[in-house]
């Protein structure tokens, strides 16, 4: 799948932002006044910034408001609802803490549930797609998104011990998602034979057109696979190991800032891989996997 920067930025930043809102909603910490203000500015900048970036991914954004209509069937619509509900509830809760110095605990819990729920709905948009076997992993795909969001949230909210644990958990879940994902395409069972109903060893004789098209650009993205292993190592190191080490050995604000930067850079790499390594079955019609099918 084409690793569109807008979608990668969306899922990385808003994941961390909603993770932070989750911990703030739980009262971990429960700041007030200016400190609270700064926390919420960071959380909203990440969450809303991510959402705006996803908005720019739309080819026809003027109809975006209609995406609230199909929550019964569509995970994307559910995500839109969850995001707005989380931002509104947490906005009220933040108002209490920043301006009134009070913490409305029950409201915070609701906001926390909606925040993490938003991350879950995002993950299900990908996990539901049978056409992209690497994404279609239950529960690994949702767990990967959730653990990354919680790790980022714990880091940003200054829950140091929890952050170390969650960073390592997120790294572990990511490794699991990768290794299980590597065999998913074969397990899903789609080949050029099932795609065409034709028998025997197959080859692509002629493409339907000489140039590219929307499908080949969007879904038949050719990743430079020789770099995939290196990028995996970089992703795990930056998103998980380095930040955990930094907050343990450098328990200062500088250490925390460096850990956050490293973590977000690592998550961006992980999400780039999430897209670039994912193969859509439509690629079969354009000659993907022919080596394996013919062997």
């Amino acid at each position: 799948m084409h690793p569109a920067p807008s979608v990668i930025i969306f899922s990385s930043l808003s994941g961390a932002g909603f993770g932070l809102l989750f911990f703030l909603g739980l009262g971990m910490p429960a700041p007030s006044g200016w400190v609270a203000f700064v926390f919420y500015v960071i959380a909203y900048a990440l969450a809303v910034g991510g959402l705006l970036s996803a908005f720019f991914h739309l080819a026809n954004p003027k109809n975006a408001v209609k995406s609230y209509s199909q929550w019964r069937t569509s995970w994307l619509s559910r995500e839109a609802w969850a995001a707005v509900a989380a931002l509104v509830v947490m906005g009220l809760y933040a108002f209490g803490q920043v301006f009134l110095g009070t913490t409305w605990t029950a409201l915070g819990w609701l906001g926390a549930a909606l925040s993490i729920g938003t991350v879950f709905t995002t993950s299900m948009i990908y996990a539901q797609l049978k056409t992209i076997p690497r994404w279609n992993q239950l529960p690994a795909t949702p767990l990967m998104f959730l653990s990354c969001s919680l790790a980022g949230g714990a880091l940003l909210s200054g829950n140091v011990t929890l952050a170390v644990v969650l960073l390592l958990v997120a790294g572990g879940v990511t490794l699991w998602h990768w290794s299980a994902g590597d065999t998913r395409f074969a397990e899903a069972g789609s080949t050029l034979n099932t795609a065409t109903g034709l028998k025997g060893k197959m080859g692509l004789w002629e493409k339907p057109h000489t140039g590219e098209n929307y499908l080949t650009r969007e879904m038949v993205y050719q990743v430079a696979r020789k770099h995939a292993v290196k990028l995996r190592v970089i992703a795990i190191a930056l998103m998980s190991l380095l930040p955990a080490l930094l907050i343990l050995v450098l328990p200062t604000h500088i250490g925390a800032v460096l850990a956050v930067i490293s973590h977000i850079a690592g998550i961006l790499t992980q999400r780039w891989l999430f897209f670039a390594e994912a193969e859509h079955v439509v690629g079969l019609y354009y000659g993907a996997h022919l080596g394996k099918a013919a062997a």
Binding site: N60, N63, Q128, G197, H209, G211, N213
Partner: protein, 253 residues
């Protein structure tokens, strides 16, 4: 509403004969022509004098296959929306723009509601949906819904443009829910098949497999049936003269 109908009264769709298709792309052109001049946003072409690409609702691939026994075959493979019964492209749509009609099973996009998120194209296993790069809305085969019910057209033209135009008769249109329809009989007799059944989309469109071409199907020629045969028969079975000498010399080497 992007919930799928429980069942549809009819299942209008196409039956595509892989044995007959000659890969001429006439249906591609007819489809683009009709759907650019009629319902919905036109199908744009981008950068036509540079690196051209464009929106198409129907594309023809071509594959070669080598069966276990027998000769290799080349198969032209037209592909457009299969109007799936269990259409994943419909249920993922957040805006309600994608829908499947309860009356005839046609899967359509309401372009006035589409926000161009592209999720439905991701959900379709067959690559049957493309966002038009000029209009930013999702385009897909409409089964020529603006032809098949169109009383302004002569009756013979109330068929999809691709079916009407195919010079080889490789595309057939009809109701696949009716077991007595021509298309259903064709599917039953020729062993019509689903594409990627493992994806669970229950496509309405069916593909007829190519007939095996592992033997020469022409009758053995005796010579009598061809008046030229006697004149073309080899005159000298054994080489003579110089040729005979060359032949013998080569044999000895």
């Amino acid at each position: 509403m992007t919930a799928l109908p429980k069942s549809t009264d009819k299942k209008l769709g196409l039956v595509i004969d892989l044995d007959t298709c000659v890969g001429c792309h006439a249906c591609v052109t007819a489809c683009k022509g009709w759907n650019t001049q009629n319902y919905g946003a036109p199908l744009s072409d981008m950068d036509p004098y540079g690196k051209p690409e464009g929106t198409f609702l129907n594309r023809i691939h071509a594959f070669q296959s080598q069966p276990e026994t027998g000769l290799a075959q080349t198969t032209h493979f037209p592909k457009s929306c299969l109007h799936c019964d269990d259409a994943p492209c419909v249920t993922v749509c957040p805006t309600g723009a994608s829908y499947k009609r309860a009356e005839d099973g046609i899967v359509l996009v309401n372009e006035d509601a589409c926000m161009g998120c592209g999720l439905c194209a991701w959900a379709c296993p067959y690559g049957a949906r493309e966002i038009d790069q000029a209009q930013g809305v999702m385009k897909k085969c409409t089964l020529c819904v603006d032809r098949i019910y169109n009383e302004n057209l002569p009756e013979v033209d109330r068929q999809p443009a691709c079916v009407r135009t195919c010079p080889a008769g490789a595309r057939h249109f009809g109701d696949l829910a009716d077991p007595t329809s021509d298309v259903s009989i064709l599917v039953a007799e020729r062993g019509g098949m689903d594409l990627m059944p493992e994806q669970g989309t229950a496509p309405v469109n069916k593909y007829l497999p190519p007939r095996p071409k592992d033997q020469i199907q022409a009758p053995v020629m005796g010579g009598d049936e061809d008046i030229l045969a006697p004149y073309l028969a080899p005159v000298a079975e054994e080489p003579k003269g110089l040729l005979a000498w060359v032949d013998r010399a080569l044999e000895k080497l």
